[in-house]
Amino acid sequence: MSNPTAYADYTTGEPLADTKAPEGPVEDRWDTRRFTAKLVNPANRRRHTVIVVGTGLAGGSAGATLAEQGYHVVQFCYQDSPRRAHSIAAQGGINAAKNYRNDGDSIHRLFYDTVKGGDFRSRESNVHRLAQISVEIIDQCVAQGVPFAREYGGLLDTRSFGGVQVSRTFYARGQTGQQLLLGAYQALSRQIAAGNVEMHARTEMLDLIVVDGRARGIVARDLVSGEITTHFADAVVLASGGYGNVFYLSTNAMNSNATAIWRAHRRGAHFANPCFTQIHPTCIPRTGDHQSKLTLMSESLRNDGRIWVPRAAGDTRPAAEIPEDERDYYLERIYPSFGNLVPRDIASRAAKNVCDEGRGVGPGGQGVYLDFADAIARLGRKAVEERYGNLFEMYERITAENPYEVPMRIYPAVHYTMGGLWVDYDLQTTIPGLFAIGEANFSDHGANRLGASALMQGLADGYFVLPATVNDYLARNPGHDTPGPEHPAVAAAVAETRERLHRLVGVDGDRSADSFHREIGELMWEYCGMSRNAEGLRKALDRIPQIREEFWRRIKVPGTEGEFNQSLERANRIVDYLELAELMCLDALHRAESCGGHFREESQTPDGEAARRDEEFGYAAAWEFTGTGRAPVLHREDLVFAYVHPTQRSYA
């Protein structure tokens, strides 16, 4: 098998540049780009096919919009219906710089907050465009019938979210993602009915087809019949979501996976900043080894709940018996001006620190209290119920504890991945004709994503950015012949897929896919989780190839490839996690600075905060694949900050 030290000996290749963002003032760049983009004659659009993999906010909105423009769209999701994509689970809200509250918000402020929140590791052009488009998203969604929260005067309500000082988050109770996704799903349904979108549900993309250097199709598996199919197009769009499930336990849906982007990476798409993962501070702690996923409790709870642990390590008294002066409201103590509302990465790390000191609460000491007693005393139970009733109910259902009476217990969990396929300003990857949108790309959040910004990005990409830039690509690359199944590149991709599945079924070992998933997940959480150091990362890099080797010796997949087989689906996703995990650790090892969600213990300020090293690491790291277990090549994209000047984040 591969040699782990060789993997870490990456080489550095040519720097990478975003050649698509126009020069000029940042606020004019999107207009300029749209103007310079070539258009496809409406009469010719029907002859172009675009594949869209995914039906979440990004894919759903992109598929519907491309079809409305007249393209023939062929779309995929692994669920039984496009309506069930993981975006459905988003709770808190979506940001937009509407400034309806007249509280000083503006496009520039949203741009500024997002660049700063991302700890100066995102691209200014992209983020500014995102802030500009945010206002159009709200208009579009309202017109679709998305039932956002409203005030008595009939106007839209907003709230402040995730450590910003303006109220720019639009929401639909605790189900914003559901309502936005149903809006996109309904728009998509209208296009399916019109015959403009050919929808393949319960179909999983297993490889990308690249012909003459261009993305021309995908290899997929019909999850019901097991049949391997090929689909061809003039452009391929990946909207397959994030890869947080590499950690096994996360807030992602159970079947969210990295296969689409990882297979594209293997075919030549560079993977950027894979180590940038977001750990969300307020999730329900795990209860035992049976735990299959973690449930997020909306960040909005931190507006009124107070976070604390006992002052003394090993204090096992019930919360109610711990007197006030023996409690440590540690966020309020360490960060007096932001208190319980510090950004996610800071809140998460602080929770880990107090638990590491032995002051954690609940089973295994892996939890901290989120206490509403003061809020209930101050506002009354009814007001608290109005604000958080559904969340309290969900908490009680899962834990059998009543948060009106005993404090909630929370602990950080993997939630979102800022890294993803490298894309330029047009959202095109390093493979011409292959685009990546939504959580699947790396573009807008740098090293840390602000709350309520993923929904904004997914819809900005899908409704507005991608349809414009795909247009340009198709106008410049017209009239390719469709490659047939006999084309060597197609035949090779199909053969490799079949061989992989056949091999998985053929091992006939003694360990389930889940057991391997747990093992790799625990390793990643330990060494590439909330805080990282060179020694631990090297350990993980040694261990991963061993797990991979064991996997191919001991995996047990009952049944065959040619039938409905959920064990095979899982095992095949783990093949990709076992490679992606290695790249994440290498990326984390090479980035010997702390920034955003990436905390390197070796790089901290005297008071234990993340210390960025802009001179050495002010770039996005885009990795090129060279073979399983073989050292990848690093391409740096230097980040230039002309508008928001890098400062050390301070929330004290």
């Binding site: 909105s61 219906s81 069930r84 017109a143 009939g154 209208r190 209860t287 259902r397 064990s567």
Partner: protein
């Protein structure tokens, strides 16, 4: 906890199905129902038997994928989704029956997995507002009274799980269809297509082979999102109103 499970096993739509019994041990009351099934599947896998197929994804009660009939009740004894049902709702030593949704319009795919494509086709027949991207007016151009917005939201909460159909003795999809009709009907944005929407969606529902509604109310009792039975009566009124206005042959 120790339990006996009796689970519907069916290899494919055309194969005969039947109940098979399995004992499971070491079940924690903190486990969700699906985590309990995970432990069974882990054992079956290692023993080289086919694990039980079931649909699930979010495990948070929002995606609508999970779909189990537990002891004869859609989503089991509590008013929630199968994934949010916890083992503390059962007692040590219980025998639990687990079956798929049963309805003519939801054919079994394998074991506990059914095909709910009919729901997608009902939405495709009219469950949307026709507003292409870019064509939207400023969001505040049309204020929406809070009561209308709240009512729209309450109907929009439907997760498309199909428990209403599974619970209905007639296998009717009226609750699901009415939830979307009333969501969009409550809003000014949905008004222009109000008549065609209800007529087309009801026609599609009938074409899919769902049963007729006799207002037994089992659907609303099973619905994990609390879509009320009045949603159906409201849709009936909408349909009558529309069919007078838009006569169809």
């Amino acid at each position: 906890m120790k339990l006996t499970l009796r689970i519907w096993r069916q290899h494919d739509p055309d194969a005969p199905g039947g109940m098979a019994a399995y004992d499971v041990e070491g079940i924690s009351p903190d486990m969700s129902f699906l985590e309990m099934l995970d432990t069974l599947n882990e054992r079956l896998t290692v023993e080289g038997q086919d694990p039980v197929a079931f649909d699930h994804d979010c495990r948070e009660g929002i995606c609508g994928a999970c779909s189990l009939v537990i002891n004869g009740e859609a989503h089991g004894p509590e008013r929630t989704t199968s994934c949010q049902l916890h083992m503390r709702s059962f007692r040590d030593g219980d025998t639990i029956d687990v079956e798929p949704w049963r309805a003519a319009a939801f054919p079994v795919v394998r074991d506990l997995v059914v095909d709910r494509g009919a729901f997608d086709r009902i939405i495709q027949s009219g469950g949307y507002v026709s507003v292409p991207t870019g064509a939207a007016p400023e969001a505040h151009a049309t204020p929406v009274p809070k009561a209308a917005a709240d009512s729209a939201f309450e109907h929009a909460e439907c997760i498309g799980c199909g428990a209403c159909v599974a619970a209905c003795p007639n296998g009717s999809a009226m609750l699901f269809t009415s939830a979307k009709v009333n969501h969009l009907g409550a809003l000014p944005q949905g008004a222009p297509e109000r008549e065609t929407r209800v007529l087309d969606m009801v026609a599609q529902m009938d074409a899919e082979g769902f049963g007729g509604c006799t207002l037994t109310g089992e659907c609303a009792t099973a619905c994990p999102k609390g879509i009320p039975l009045t949603s159906i009566t409201a849709m009936n009124r909408e349909w009558l109103r529309a069919s007078r206005k838009v006569p169809r042959g």
